[in-house]
Symmetry: C2
Subunit: 408 residues, 2 copies
């Protein structure tokens, strides 16, 4: 049997995600890992989840264990719609589709939008999980450079003038892998471009709630509604993806997408084909855990406090121990920062040395479009405990100083 | 905004599933529904699930709520591999991928196998959920007729002689929508054809454990191994999809696919892009609920007993009340039987009359390839309680007698 001959053309575009493969290597307890995008498990609200599960199974057990609609649990859709609604944008439950983690939203949006060869705008670097989900559609990715204020909108405007695009993808808050945030001015300019070209934007916002400094900004979707002078999501082209993975827990696999109804309508059909519906029990658990609102807000406040300390500790230790030739981003929130070494250095080589010292991170070349980023790597600061952050960054610093000396 | 212009070509192939749309209409409590494929909720092992959830969250809560590997929980993969292994076929954990309900296995198998225009063999009629999942790949479905012994293998052999096919799809046990079972002789002939042509077979077996009469048969995958004189799944082309939805509960969305490692390897990557991994908590719950084996076996024995009585009651009442011009299948297990009315009658018209009488079923035309089956409908006998089955079938019988009289 030679299976290779039997696979579809797109299958050759499927590669094991570097990040997830490295994650497997780093699961030994003595490795200090800055590699994954894992929340801190010691902060999981295990008791709250336990109570929610108990309540769901005791009071509505037969319903919670039965098949349910592809759209998702009505109460949870309503709760999310309310939470996303503002003075200027009214989100209806019909605009919400519950998905099995926001990764699924990427997969099914890809399925309904893309034909082979479609041109799609992405930040460079961008989230490797999106590339994994969308590469099999054989797209033409157009890379827009980013700086400390996020996607460079002038570069985007120039691209849009030259040719037409099927869609754009952005993580405006604490981007993965850079940790940078799209400024308010750029959100307005981006929304104006969306309105001018009726360009669909996939706004990926897994980290938005996790802000540790600076001012909270409205979503691009909210800004688009203002720019378009509408209060209805049905008039907007932004598809906003959110998740409970970073605020509650990832193991439940519950996320959502908020978009115009014609999009949701097609997504429901793609979702039906993909997995019928998201686990009924897990939707019930999430709803019971968050419905009163104040628990989730308090819990997020606690996460912010702990993650802020970890970010600050990592930045402080880097400042102290990293060689002057190396630079990095200073995120206002989220889980990640990006390190850039001198051009001639290779993060994969450095990773090998780091693993010998029992420290792990993710080389960021696979987050880049084109032959770029070999000298960059991503550090996660949410998962490791403070003493581990300090020890791991010190080891990395020493190693980088040696490596920089050799490279020069 | 005209979204229609923005959607991919394949999106025009996405239609809301008739079955699931009708299910929505029939959720009022006064409708007797034979429409869905729902297990009986009163038989759900709610207490066992509750204990399993409690145990998982108390003893391994932080792990159960964290991200996990795309392949699935190692202990659960091992348990399934053991359960599928026989004297002649050794299934390894590496041959198992955990999926978010077996519908997801269809979706990701489609993703790794099919290019536009590929020819795929299916039974006629066949499972509409597979058609929903695979139609967007713009396939050329080749229909093989079925009878009371399942797929007609001589017709399949004739097709295979004429041209080449990418894959075949079959539900050998208590097929949806017909309820028929592929005989042992035909399984052997089918396996011989798979071996001769190295043809991948998707063996969909959601109902296999639910047998009420007749003898348990080996899976086509097991027979293929014997025919190929191997004990290793890696030498077989059958991909076997199973699920806990019908034996435990559907709301957890946990299923699996067992296949050769090169297939699993690609499926893991498609799964990663689709939803990263199946809910960690739900895999822990399923594992805790089934690990000792005897609970699941006892529970399945109870399901068989209750569903057998419901099947018998439905068949007996149909015998008594349905007009002579109408025929139906007599399944040895599963959830469904198929009713065939005289050629000129239309099941969708009959459904309208039935809904006026508060009875629902699923017209089976959408389960057919080509313009066929307008005079057929599917009845589910697992979900309604006995008194409802009797009342519903009596109403249907009276209505069919009238309709047949008018049609003749």
């Amino acid at each position: 049997m030679t299976w290779d001959k039997l696979f579809a053309k797109r299958t050759s575009q499927m590669k094991r995600s570097t990040v997830r493969e490295i994650l497997k290597l780093t699961s030994q307890p003595d490795v200090i890992s800055f590699a994954g995008g894992l929340p801190a498990p010691e902060l999981f609200p295990v008791e709250r989840i336990q109570q929610a599960a108990e309540l769901a199974l005791t009071e509505r057990g037969r319903e919670a264990l039965q098949y349910s609609t592809s759209e998702g649990m009505p109460e949870l859709r309503g709760w999310i719609a309310d939470r996303l609604s503002t003075e200027t944008l009214k989100v209806k439950p019909e605009n919400i589709l519950i998905v099995s983690g926001s990764q699924q939203a990427q997969d099914i949006v890809g399925k309904i939008l893309f034909d082979e060869g479609d041109a799609v705008i992405v930040e460079n670097p961008t989230y490797v999980g999106m590339l994994t989900a969308w590469r099999p559609y054989l797209l033409d990715f157009a890379a827009v450079p980013t700086d400390h204020d996020g996607m460079q909108i002038d570069a985007l405007a120039a691209l849009l003038e030259k040719r037409s695009f099927k869609a754009a993808y952005s993580i405006p808050n604490f981007q993965n892998p850079q940790g940078v945030t799209l400024s308010y001015e750029r959100r307005v300019k981006l929304a104006e471009l969306l309105a001018r070209y009726d360009l669909p934007l996939y706004e990926d916002d897994p980290y938005g709630a996790l802000r540790y400094s600076g001012e909270t900004l409205p979503s691009v979707q909210q800004v688009e509604a203002v720019v378009r002078k509408t209060s209805a999501l049905d008039d907007c082209t932004t598809m906003y993806a959110g998740t409970f993975s970073k605020t509650l827990t990832p193991g439940l696999r519950v996320g959502w997408i908020a978009a115009a109804f014609p999009v949701i309508d097609k997504l429901v059909q793609a979702k039906q084909a993909a997995d019928l519906h998201t686990s009924t029990l897990n939707q019930f658990i999430v709803y019971e855990a968050v419905r009163d609102g104040s628990f989730l807000d308090d819990h997020i406040a606690r996460l912010r406090e702990v993650y802020r300390q970890r970010r600050d500790l990592m930045l402080r230790t880097m400042e102290e121990c990293f060689p002057a030739e190396v630079t990095w981003t200073r995120p206002e929130g989220g889980l990640f920062l990006l390190v850039t070494m001198p051009e001639r250095m290779d993060a994969t080589e450095i990773l090998k040395l780091a693993l010998e010292q029992k420290v792990a991170f993710v080389p960021a070349d696979s987050f880049h479009i084109g032959e770029m980023g070999r000298n960059t790597f991503r550090l996660n600061f949410s998962n490791a405990r403070p003493e581990m952050i300090e020890a791991g960054i010190r080891r990395l610093g020493a190693l980088l100083k040696d490596a920089v000396r050799v490279a020069i």
